[in-house]
């Protein structure tokens, strides 16, 4: 072995990266820098706004303090309504997600065409945000909690069905075969062979989605779809910042509580 080869195999100085890795790292850095420059430059940012932002923020905080607790009784009912919207929306989504999941799972769908329909419905439901669904349902049913329930349900169906469909695709074939061997029809195989297997996933994701939905429902009022968001929006528009703080704290409490409850239930299941 020549001295050069020895030197290459046992270098005196430890280097973290080979030359090739260094080049790749620099290319990545350049790509990210380019992406940053492109995205920031095209947004034509008004830097003057940044100059006094901290003063504005402090001003806002000062106006919020102290919270106007007398507003609390007014928002108790809207808070309950918010939770109702989340719960009813999730319940409706749960009902519709089961057939949709069977339609969108490769091993239970009828044929390629129905599978494509199932997948398209999943993507459409999941891609549109709850609040945008809210816009649509407010246009249909008029403002109110009904539009909110529909919006939550429309968004959650795809979420639940996607995860359940994945669970169906991974279902143990042995149990399905066993049920089929007893002479069960397709529907019976689905109900007795597959459904019990995906039940933990179904319940777990439903509970998880419910706590996301409580958070989503807190802003549905902005587009007129009911719940606490309406009062938050009204208070902001009236510059009633002390009320805003009360509403924000209330939202914080219900979201944290629902998150804790959901985590507790999911912990019990698994």
């Amino acid at each position: 072995m020549t001295a050069a080869a020895l030197e290459k195999r046992y270098p005196d100085v430890w280097r973290r990266r080979s030359r090739r890795e260094v080049v790749i790292a620099w290319l990545w850095t350049a790509a990210i820098a380019f992406a940053a420059a492109w995205s920031v430059s095209a947004l034509d940012i008004e830097w003057a706004f940044f100059a006094d932002a901290h003063e504005q923020a402090l001003d806002l905080v000062e106006r919020m303090w102290p919270p106007r607790w007398s507003y609390l009784p007014v928002i108790v009912r809207p808070l309950i309504e918010t939770i109702h919207i989340a719960t009813l929306g999730t319940a409706i989504a749960l009902v519709f997600s089961i057939p949709l999941a069977f339609l969108a799972a490769r091993n239970t769908t009828l044929n390629g065409f129905t599978w494509a329909i199932g997948r398209a419905l999943l993507v459409a439901s999941r891609s549109v945000n709850t609040v945008i669904w809210g816009l649509l349902f407010v246009a249909i049913f008029g403002p109110g909690a009904v539009a909110g329930v529909c919006a939550v349900a429309a968004r959650s169906v795809g979420f639940l069905a996607k995860l359940v469909a994945e669970a169906i695709e991974e279902a143990d074939a042995g149990q399905i075969e066993a049920i089929t061997a007893t002479g069960a029809g397709t529907a019976q195989v689905y109900v007795f062979g597959i459904l019990p297997q995906v039940m933990p996933v179904l319940i777990g994701t439903t509970v998880y989605r419910w706590d996301i939905n409580v958070r989503e429902s807190s802003v549905l009022g902005f587009v007129g779809a009911g719940g606490i968001g309406l009062h938050l929006y009204a208070s902001i528009n009236q510059f009633a910042w002390q009320q805003v703080l009360v509403v924000l704290l209330a939202i914080l409490v219900i979201v944290l509580l629902s998150e804790a409850l959901s985590a507790y239930i999911r912990g019990r299941i698994s």
Binding site: A36, S39, E81, A139, I140, L256
Partner: protein
């Protein structure tokens, strides 16, 4: 005990909640809640019935989707993507100190608690609520949206990264520390290599999430395609709204596919 009781000849499906009594209680509670919540919401059934013909009407007006104003559409979409991209980058930068402070094995106790408090509080409030405040502070437009998404991303990435840092293997950390490395060197040479690949996956996931959120925060005036969509809805411009909705679905599906692809490659 009779044999029939031990080995029954007919099979009964096992109850879902442990025992039959508990299952009945659970079902009764669910039905009770359903009745209470529906009656509590003051549902106006006449209005719901009136809604169905209106839904069909809106649906008919949505077809065919109007792509004639594609310039407005593409401008909004590009703005959304830019917002998402810039917000992810800013979020990554901001998340590093949050993650270091929120990792139990690195940060001193008071700092750890403060960072965890920030994460819990920041995650609770919906992006739209945060967007309202940034709109108040920075005026209407994409800057407010960018800052909203950056804030939300920093909190989310900070949380995920902190968990990864807490699960780091101690051996390499101790080895680097034993060479006399300071805090910064320990982080760079022992923790970063261990969390990097997972972190890249989470960042790509967050980019995808930001694209999705960027389509909605425009509703409160924070820029992006949401602003265009909200305007078209309030003008009953349903065929244009349909075009925007289809574009959003396409963009989000594309983003999700990209994020899945990258994360599969990383694994």
């Amino acid at each position: 005990m009779s044999i029939a009781a031990v080995y029954p000849t007919t099979w009964r499906r096992p109850p879902l909640f442990g025992s039959l009594a508990r299952q009945r209680i659970a079902i009764a509670a669910a039905v009770g809640y359903l009745v209470w919540s529906v009656s509590d919401l003051n549902v106006d059934y006449a209005r719901i019935l009136a809604g169905f013909p209106r839904a069909i009407d809106i649906f008919v007006k949505m077809f065919p989707p109007d792509f004639a104003r594609w310039q407005l559409l593409t401008n909004g979409m590009i703005e959304s993507v830019q917002m998402a991209l810039a917000a992810t980058l800013v979020g990554v930068v901001l998340s590093i100190p949050i993650a270091l402070a929120a990792a139990r094995n690195l940060a001193p106790r008071p700092l750890y608690l403060a960072a965890r408090g920030l994460i819990v509080g920041g995650r609770t409030l919906h992006e739209i609520i945060i967007a309202i405040f940034f709109v108040k502070l920075f005026g209407f437009g994409p800057v407010a949206g960018l800052l909203t998404l950056a804030f939300a991303s920093a909190i989310f990435l900070g949380k995920m990264l902190a968990e990864d840092i807490e699960n780091v293997r101690v051996g390499p950390v101790e080895a680097v520390r034993a060479t006399g490395a300071g805090f910064g060197q320990t982080v760079v040479y022992s923790i970063v290599p261990q969390v990097l690949s997972r972190a890249v996956g989470v960042i790509i996931y967050r980019l995808d999430a930001n694209v999705r959120h960027s389509t909605v925060i425009g509703i409160v005036g924070a820029g992006g395609i949401g602003q265009t969509l909200s305007a078209s809805f309030s003008r009953y411009d349903y065929d244009f709204a349909a075009a925007i909705l289809l574009s959003i679905v396409a963009l989000v599906a594309l983003g999700e596919w990209f994020s899945d692809w990258v994360r599969r490659k990383l694994r």
